[in-house]
Symmetry: C2
Subunit: 242 residues, 2 copies
DNA sequence: CGCGCTGTTGACTCACATCAAAACCCGTGG
DNA sequence: CCACGGGTTTTGATGTGAGTCAACAGCGCG
């Protein structure tokens, strides 16, 4: 096994709440391995019974669902520290797919151990619930974005959120962070057409609010961006991870 | 206390998984009371620190967020059995408001006991996580609806979901169920204008797919409605509740 | 009876979708 | 070194689904 929980690189990040050595040891016991995937690889498939759960260690990905007519809705962007497969854990079946955008390293857990893990260590179970609550919070805001914000507000909101995540993972240097997605991904996340998303990005670039090109996002003044996004700029709260 | 957990009316419903008498007793210990509210009463306020969590016992309500510009996004409709305040439970602060649409009865728990509840009974903690996963699933589909479905598809989808919930709670009789919301509420849930929602409802009525008026929803052929909604008609899985 | 709230309908407008083509970027292979 | 091809981004022209505006109808209630 390449990475040991007790020396997990994520623990160093300021994003996460502290996890005690004891908890790490317990987590270690349930870790069944590590998975490395190439860009473009599907990690979980909507509607299938996933035998394994993951925590993203390195790399980025996408969660999405596909409608019968072929339209794709991007649910969320996957960053290091994200827990993948909660639904598979409790309900047995995923309601969305997960795909690696860059090369990714994932921490693997067996679904069959999930309940045991929960019982044997309630405080880690509590952490999982915490993560679920954070996700619920995020999905609620996303819904508000797609439903109520105009194109420019929506794009500004999305870039701000992505930038905030980057900040907490210490990916930001000189107001820049890597953001290796396609414009199509953002368009599918916001329910906009690719063309309109592109034009809206250009508008934000012209206005000096946010520049995203060649896989790099630059935001000089998050406060101003937040204003356009109809939201407040405030750092994300710490959260636990598994 | 009006209702005792061990004789909780929800246990009779086919919607829910069985909860053992033992578990009910434990739940009872953490129940701190019962709350009855009138129509229109706010139950939780976005951004505030809620000292209490609830499970809806009777009546219906709405979850929603409000943007700085005044637009409202309805996140979900609240039905009996729904758990309210998970976010307040773990993060201390709600990200959306909850309001009673009809008169409601709510089962009250103290937030201060939440963690203790979790630790003292991991299997109930597991149930809470389950509920969170179900909610996450639902929010994902909602996002897909608002982002990708056309107006008629979206309205059909929403009415179908509401109807399914009604079925499981045994609210449906002769293809009819009570649905005491305003068209504005549905519009705000789907990110559509009130006027367009109204016209779309009329279209569904004309096509004999779904009729919603005077607070009563009638669906004669859910399969056909599902077809318009770009989804499959399948009964909702059982889920636990608190 | 009059007021406030919700639902309904028609006329007009616009933000965003769709269509189409070109530019760019980069890896491959001749 | 350059030609080629697929994926992505960019730009312009045109179309339309849904928003906005406005007026009215129905209904419950004081």
């Amino acid at each position: 096994m390449a990475t040991h929980c007790e020396s997990c690189p994520l623990h160093k990040s300021t994003l996460f709440t502290d996890v005690s050595p004891e908890d790490r040891r317990i987590t270690q016991r349930f870790k069944s391995g590590e998975l490395m995937v190439d860009p473009g690889t599907p990690v979980m498939m909507e509607g299938t019974n996933a035998p394994q759960l993951y925590t993203a260690l390195r790399g980025m990905g996408l969660r999405y669902t596909t409608l019968p007519n072929g339209e794709r809705q991007v649910i969320n962007f996957v960053f290091p520290g994200d827990f993948i497969g909660l639904q598979a854990g409790v309900m047995g079946e995923m309601s969305h797919s997960v795909e690696a955008t860059t090369a990714m390293t994932l921490c693997v857990f067996d679904r069959s151990d999930f309940f045991k893990f929960f019982k044997s260590n309630p405080s880690r179970g509590y952490d999982i619930t915490w993560l679920a609550a954070v996700e619920e919070h995020f999905l609620g805001s996303s819904l508000a974005t797609v439903g109520q914000r105009s194109a420019i507000e929506a794009v500004a909101w999305a870039l701000l959120k992505l930038f905030q995540r980057g900040e907490q993972l210490a990916l930001v240097r000189q107001a820049k962070m890597p953001l290796p997605f396609r414009q199509q991904d953002l368009a599918d996340a916001l329910g906009l057409s690719l063309v309109h998303t592109n034009k809206t990005l250009a508008k934000l670039r012209d206005r000096q609010l946010a520049a995203w090109s060649n896989g790099v996002l630059q935001v000089n003044d998050p406060e101003m961006l937040a204003e356009v996004a109809l939201t407040e700029f405030e750092p994300l709260p710490k959260r636990p991870f598994i």
